[in-house]
């Protein structure tokens, strides 16, 4: 147990954090803006992985192009979902939680019917299949890809929300829907677009997770609770999710280094519950009126 190993663990923590964060990004956007707890988020991630698989398998699309393509495909699914179901439920937050759970069952079983329950895999270029040595520290090339994609997406989202007209409108709707409407902002449209955006982000996450692990109809389930906790701990804001994922990712890596993976998970769950006991609004709560 020397310092080099601990350094390795810390660097790995950054990577785990980026994985947790990218899984939670879409959820953060959707929850932060519309207050919708989207239980189908895991299945949107799964759809992202399957759309990459389809594009690769049937159209021969190179992997790196699958990422944006999955974004588009899943964003469209998200759009349909919002128009067809979610928009009727904005005033009933607990019911959206339930309805989206129904959606997750349908998506999971639908994919199983179409693709079968045997796992699929995503082929990636050979350079992503190995590691890079940074001094004495070894890092997997693909983990770097995940980290880069996550950083890029966070930057893009930050620009979108804080530097564009759309971002101003979103924040206006978050603060006060009626007031925003008075300024001619169509809150329905804003909700629709953010939902599609959040879904698309889940799609990108899925395309990445399909390479790290496995493409299965049930793959989404393992990410959804974790992603939720990131969003809730973060308080529903972009910065909150970044910090929450960063801290928990590092904790997971360091605890696993000192104990084992299972115990590390348990400790994190308990710490999260304890944290929210003292700060139920999360790290950086949105200044919106929601309580």
């Amino acid at each position: 147990m020397d310092l080099g190993s601990l350094l390795n663990a810390l660097i790995l923590g950054v990577s785990i954090a980026s994985i947790w964060l990218i899984a939670a990004l879409g959820l953060t956007i959707i929850y932060g803006t519309a207050g919708v707890i989207n239980m189908a988020h895991g299945e949107l991630i799964m759809l992202g992985a399957y759309s990459s698989y389809m594009l690769q398998f049937y159209l021969g699309l190179p992997y790196l192009l699958c990422l944006p393509a999955s974004f588009v495909v899943v964003a469209l699914v998200g759009l349909a979902l919002e128009r067809g179901l979610i928009r009727y439920l904005y005033s009933r937050p607990l019911d959206t939680l339930l309805a989206t759970y129904g959606v997750s069952l349908v998506l999971m079983q639908g994919v199983r019917l179409i693709f079968g329950s045997d796992p699929k895999y995503l082929a990636v270029p050979e350079i992503f299949q190995s590691n890079v040595m940074l001094g004495s520290v070894s890092v997997s090339a693909f983990r770097i890809v995940v980290l880069l994609v996550t950083v890029l997406l966070v930057l893009a989202l930050w620009l979108l929300f804080y530097k564009t007209r759309f971002g101003v409108q979103v924040r206006a709707v978050m603060q006060n829907k009626e007031m925003a409407a008075a300024f001619g902002i169509n809150s329905g449209r804003i909700y629709m677009l953010t939902f599609a955006l959040g879904a698309g982000l889940a799609g990108v996450a899925g395309a990445l997770f399909g390479v790290l692990a496995i493409v299965l109809p049930t793959m989404g389930a393992s990410y959804v609770v974790q992603a939720f906790l990131m969003v809730v701990v973060g308080g529903g804001s972009l910065a909150g999710s970044v910090v929450a994922s960063g801290v928990t990712g590092e904790m997971q890596s360091v605890f696993a280094f000192f104990t084992n993976d299972t115990l590390a998970r348990f400790i994190i769950f308990v710490l999260i519950v304890a944290f929210l006991r003292f700060r139920p609004q999360g790290l950086f709560a949105q200044s919106g009126a929601r309580r």
Partner: protein, 366 residues
């Protein structure tokens, strides 16, 4: 006369009729498999009831009811496991496989059946009281509380999986023989087992029904409606929420005990997120504002799963998910609200009829 659905007397009549119907089942069914299955459904009904009480009446969405159910089930399974250990082999076999050659402290109380049963019910109840107390005092509510229960559930799931020597890990506990109490063996396929479960279901339902119609029930419904307002009337919202969450946990713990008595098995799967969510689905489809509706929701969904699940093998989850979406979207109060509307239509055509003697006052939203 108002809607018969809201008539207190009519409600009690229906409740009594429902349980009378359940009570004659053993006379109608000679098939021990069916009887065991019905009894299992009744356990699910108890779970749906507990969710209805806590969510439908208290407004507390609990996605972690598996905690109370699972802890109760583990307590019962430990009790039954110890019943089948003898002087010459005092240690459950799975512990030997995990290199434990003594009975851990955690297991020792379960050597006594009575103490074991008491622990199986009190531990989950006390957990709910503590967890609920802490969370509600911090004013964690609504979706946040739901997510907290999920986190807590996942924590339990993880630790039970990990502490294999004490819990049997993913394999769970499989007490090899039927539960014995006061010298009587409760064969899970016998009418006795069914009676025991039905007794607890009936008891829990009538207790819950009384609670919802009491002053306490009125206050919890007020809290569901607008918890902020109720504080200013002098009620401790956290106190009421904790009590109803705890009672709901108690019912789930009893259900857990009954379940293990029937299936002689428990595993972390009972603390899986999916199982706890399906309890919520039963209550939502049946109608969370109606105790009986929730119970029926559990019976209908589980019955359909058992009997239609194999017919529509591939599409069953699709059907269930779709049905659930439709209910949430169009019938937020579940199938029970269909009855409410139907009876409402019956009542409407005759607006001139004289008011009922008691003033026909609307009841706590049943």
């Amino acid at each position: 006369m108002g809607n018969l659905y809201h008539n207190k007397i009519a409600q009690w009549v229906v409740y009594v009729a429902f349980f009378a119907a359940l009570a004659i089942i053993p006379n109608m069914v000679g098939d021990s498999f069916l009887l065991n299955q019905f009894a299992t459904y009744c356990v699910y009904g108890m779970l749906a009831l507990s969710i209805s009480l806590c969510w439908g009446f208290g407004g507390i969405l609990n996605l972690g009811q598996g905690i109370a159910f699972g802890l109760g089930a583990y307590g019962m399974a430990m009790t039954m496991q110890m019943q089948s250990q003898t002087e010459s082999n005092p240690i459950p076999p799975f512990m030997l496989n995990n290199s434990l050659d003594y009975l851990p402290l955690l297991w020792q109380p379960f050597q006594s059946t009575l103490l074991g049963l008491i622990l199986a019910v009190t531990v989950p109840t006390l957990f709910c009281a503590a967890f609920g107390g802490i969370m509600f005092r911090a004013r964690v509510s609504g979706p946040f509380f739901a997510i907290m229960t999920l986190a807590m559930l996942s924590a339990f799931y993880t630790i039970i999986l990990d502490r294999q020597a004490y819990t049997g890990g993913v394999n769970g506990l499989t007490p090899p023989s039927a539960f014995q109490f006061a010298g009587v063996e409760v064969d899970p396929y016998s009418p006795t087992a069914y009676w025991v479960v039905l007794f607890f279901l009936t008891g829990a339902t009538f207790l819950a029904k009384l609670i919802t119609q009491s002053s306490f029930g009125l206050v919890t419904q007020a809290i569901r409606d607008d918890s902020e307002r109720v504080r200013f009337l002098g009620y401790s919202v956290a106190g009421y929420e904790t009590v109803i969450y705890t009672i709901s946990g108690l019912i789930a713990a009893v259900a857990g005990c009954c379940w293990v008595m029937l299936v002689q098995y428990v595993s972390p799967a009972q603390m899986d997120v999916g199982f706890s969510l399906s309890i919520v689905i039963w209550a939502a489809i049946g109608g969370r504002h109606s105790l009986l509706g929730s119970i029926l929701g559990a019976l209908i969904i589980q019955g359909a799963q058992s009997y239609l699940g194999d017919t529509f093998l591939a599409t069953w989850l699709l059907i269930l998910g779709g049905f659930f979406i439709v209910v949430v979207r169009f019938l937020p109060n579940g199938l029970a609200s269909l009855l409410e509307v139907a009876l409402g239509l019956l009542a409407r055509p005759d607006p001139t009829s004289s008011p009922a003697p008691d003033g026909g006052r609307p009841l706590p939203a049943e």
